[in-house]
Amino acid sequence: MTESRLIYLDHQATTAVDPQVLEAMLPYFTEHFGNAASRGHDFGWAAEQATNQARETLANGIGAKEREIVFTSGATESNNIAILGAARMYHRKGKHLITCHTEHKAVIDPMRNLENQGWEVTYLGVDAQGRIDLQELRDAIRPDTVLVSLMHGNNEIGTLHPIKEIGAICRENGALFHCDATQTLGKEELDVNEMNIDLLSASAHKIYGPKGVGMLYVRRRNPRVRLEPIIFGGGHERGLRSGTLNVPGVVGFAKALELSLQNREAEQQRVRALRDRLQQRLMDELDYLTLNGDPEQRLACNLNISFAYIEGESLVLGIPGIAVSSGSACTSASLEPSYVLRAMGVGDDLAHSSIRFGVGRFTTEEQIDYVAEKVVAAVRRLRDMSPLYEMALEGIDPSTVQWASH
């Protein structure tokens, strides 16, 4: 453990706050510390003005209106408000919801909660690349379907769902469409009108903004979407989300989106080139690798690879100082293999062998080359120690062997 160098390649988990974002936030901690709901004095007005401006920036970023943006503590809360709020508001229309097996837990868990309370949820399956079948979605929508919740970009494997087509199907069939765009805001093209999105969740900390602030877009026209709040109190955010606004956070979120959109295409191109470089080097130098996710329709920053015959956690241990994510990216505290990879039909053996690399704004080509070199060396070393790799070299496919379970 002599490596002192630290390289961050986990940008789907979170990102560093961009210095320009921090700078924009700082005055709102000390000088303009007012409560945006204090309508009677200058301190409150300064805070309110800042949040109004932020709201406008964020609304414009997704083609929405200011009054359609609700500030939250993050995308998890946004997803909860959207799903629980819509289900409870429209329960007279029906008690059916649609989502997908590979959604984030912040969507799956509120769905499960509703199932326990008598709602019915259809979980769409995915193919080996993590893609849903649009015909299956069309067939799943019923007259009593209240809401369809499908993410834009998958946090683990990066696969992009065809949001525009999904929005059109939901609109045609009279179901509300909620999109968790946490991984794509500021990166992929997003327009709530063009894509017929009725509810959209996003978070600041995935785009070089601060943690603890997110937003929920709630459509006000064609159709007007109404939600039952899940947090009650002072009636902030037009009663949809009570609680004093996180003014510095909101200001930082807006600045983060502004910066991301200014350079969106150039940054996407740069990040994709770095990701492709890493992918290419690993594929060139190692055998028995599998790319997880859609090879084309994928987040530019995401690279999820299964390194057959070695276990992911041991690989992470073998590349000290390099921050990547192994197994179920968000729940790697547990030893269960990723439920996303399972849903794609990836065997548990390969799921245990998966690593997610997430390239970001501050990643350099030199870092990528260093990481490639270290990963290749660690994989080779671990495979020399692996009884499964030994079998593979002897021409025995370990997946055909009868293993005693323990």
Partner: protein, 127 residues
């Protein structure tokens, strides 16, 4: 996952990695675990006059699994078969300071030792 220094040491400098001839009369082989569970250990012993003269392992698994099997080979060398049968998973877990979530790695190592010894003894009976 934060590992103990001893786990890191075995992971970085594994002892006795490799394979012995599984068909040799004086070699016992134990293969335990399953790929879909995230760990497979292959542990082999070479026995002469009732004493283990060599031990080798190959492991697919996390750092704790690699360390448990590496430590097992270290402890096996020079022991009589009876002494080898005395090795318990709790001793391995304690020596490596394994956290509760990794205790199964030491259990697997104990199973591998038992299986290797049984395999060797089977071969002797069949002669």
């Amino acid at each position: 996952m934060v590992y103990s220094d001893k786990v890191i040491d075995h992971y970085e400098n594994p002892r006795n990695v490799g394979s012995l001839d599984k068909d040799a009369d004086n070699v016992g082989t134990g293969v335990v675990g399953a790929p879909e569970c995230g760990d497979v250990m292959k542990l082999q012993i070479q026995v002469e006059d009732g004493v283990i003269t060599d031990a080798r392992f190959k492991t697919f698994g996390c750092g704790s699994a690699i360390a448990s099997s590496s430590l097992a080979t270290e402890w096996l060398k020079g022991r009589s078969l009876d002494d080898a049968n005395e090795i318990r998973n709790v001793d391995i877990a304690e020596e490596l300071a394994l956290p509760p979530v990794k205790i199964h790695c030491s259990v697997l190592a104990e199973d591998a030792i038992r299986q290797a010894i049984a395999d060797f003894q089977n071969k002797q009976q069949n002669d």
